[in-house]
C-alpha cells in the first residue's frame, strides 16, 4: 500500500539557521547577493523546476 510521506522537513538548511549566502545572476544577468538585496526585509526564497518545461 501507500508509502509513508517523504520527510520534507529534512531537505536543505533547517529552520532556525541563517539562510546561506548565495550570489547568482538574475534574469538581466546582474549578480544578485541575496542577503544584500534583501537588506532587512523578510523574504521568500523559492526553488522551482525549470521555467522552460
Amino acid at each position: 500500500m501507500a508509502l509513508p510521506p517523504r520527510d520534507f522537513t529534512r531537505i536543505g538548511p533547517n529552520e532556525g539557521e541563517r539562510f546561506p549566502d548565495i550570489r547568482l545572476p538574475d534574469q538581466h544577468g546582474a549578480a544578485v547577493d541575496l542577503h544584500a538585496v534583501r537588506g532587512d526585509r523578510k523574504a521568500l526564497v523559492v526553488f522551482h523546476r525549470s521555467a522552460d518545461w
Binding site: 517523504r6 538548511p13 532587512d40 523574504a43 523559492v46 526553488f47
Partner: protein, 273 residues
C-alpha cells in the same frame, strides 16, 4: 500575489537551474519583476542539499525514460526568512509530478503559512484539481447558499477521508468566519474502505472526483455588502507506491450582495441578480 508581498515588505527570490536567457524570456513573457536567479549547473542547489535524486528512480519506477533535464533538479519548495535572514519556515513538495512554477509554489506555500490567501477558485497540478464555487454568484438577505468543494484525483491516486491513518492528512474544508454569515459543516459522500492485507489496519479513501458541500446562511441586515469567502482545503494524495506532500490550499470565492425582490439595498443602486 507579488504586489501583495511587496506591500507587506517581503522580498521574493526565485531560483532554478535555467540560464539567464531562459529566465529573461520567462520574465518577459509573464511580466515578472522580482529576481529570477540562474543557478546554471545547479551549484547552489547542490550545495544546499536540494537536489531531487529520487526523481530518476521514480521515473524508472513508472517506466518513464531518463531525462538529462532531471540532473540537478531541485525539490520545489520555499524558505521563509525573517528580517535577519533566519529561516522561519520551509515547505517542500514532491517534484516530479507537480509542475509548479515559482509563482504556483509561492501561492500554495502562502496558503500553508497562513500569510495571504489566494484569490483563484481552481487549483490544479498533475495529480489533484480542486475547485470551489457557490451555487449563486449573488446573495440576498437571509438566503442560504451552498459552497461546493470538488477534489478530482488522477487515476491511481486517492485522497484520505476521516479518520486517516496515522501520519496522513485527510481531506477537510474550513471557511474563515464572516460576520453575519452562519457557516455549516461540510458534507462528504461515503468514502471507500481500504483494508491492508496482513495488517490490522483499515482506512477510508476517495478516488476520482469527490464533492463536499457546506451551507452558508447570510443573516446580516441588508447592506452588509460583497464578500470574499476564504476557503482552506487540506488534502494529501497518494498512490499505492508514492505519497505526495500534504497540501493546504487557500481559495477565495467572491459573492455579491443583491437586494430582495422589489427592494433597494441601503445607500446603493438597485441591483437585481
Amino acid at each position: 500575489m507579488w504586489p501583495a508581498l511587496q506591500a507587506e515588505g517581503v522580498a521574493l527570490f526565485a531560483i532554478s537551474y535555467d540560464s539567464v536567457a531562459t529566465l529573461q524570456a520567462f520574465a518577459d513573457k509573464h511580466a515578472i519583476t522580482y529576481p529570477l536567479l540562474s543557478d546554471e549547473g545547479s551549484h547552489v542547489i547542490r550545495r544546499l542539499g536540494l537536489v531531487n535524486e529520487r526523481v530518476q528512480d521514480d521515473h524508472a519506477h513508472y517506466g518513464i525514460p531518463g531525462n538529462p533535464r532531471h540532473v540537478g533538479l531541485p525539490y520545489p519548495g520555499v524558505f521563509a526568512l525573517d528580517e535577519g535572514g533566519i529561516i522561519t519556515a520551509k515547505r517542500f513538495h514532491e517534484s516530479y509530478r507537480v509542475r509548479d512554477t515559482g509563482v504556483g509554489i509561492v501561492a500554495r506555500t502562502l496558503g500553508q503559512l497562513g500569510a495571504i490567501g489566494g484569490s483563484s477558485v481552481t487549483r490544479e497540478d498533475e495529480v489533484v484539481r480542486v475547485r470551489a464555487w457557490l451555487d449563486s454568484p449573488t446573495y440576498a438577505f437571509f438566503q442560504r447558499l451552498h459552497l461546493t468543494v470538488e477534489i478530482s484525483v488522477a487515476p491511481g491516486f486517492h485522497v484520505y477521508a476521516q479518520p486517516a491513518p496515522a501520519g496522513f492528512v485527510p481531506i477537510s474544508v474550513a471557511v474563515a468566519p464572516i460576520e453575519g454569515v452562519a457557516i455549516g459543516d461540510a458534507d462528504w459522500p461515503a468514502p471507500q474502505p481500504v483494508e491492508v492485507t496482513g495488517l490490522e489496519e483499515r482506512f477510508w479513501v476517495h478516488e476520482g472526483t469527490v464533492r463536499g458541500a457546506l451551507p452558508l446562511t447570510f443573516s446580516a441586515p441588508p447592506g452588509a455588502g460583497d464578500h470574499l469567502i476564504h476557503v482552506t482545503v487540506n488534502y494529501q494524495a497518494c498512490s499505492d507506491s508514492v505519497c505526495l506532500a500534504p497540501v493546504s490550499l487557500a481559495l477565495g470565492v467572491p459573492v455579491r450582495e443583491v437586494a430582495l425582490e422589489g427592494r433597494e439595498l441601503p445607500g446603493r443602486e438597485v441591483q437585481r441578480g
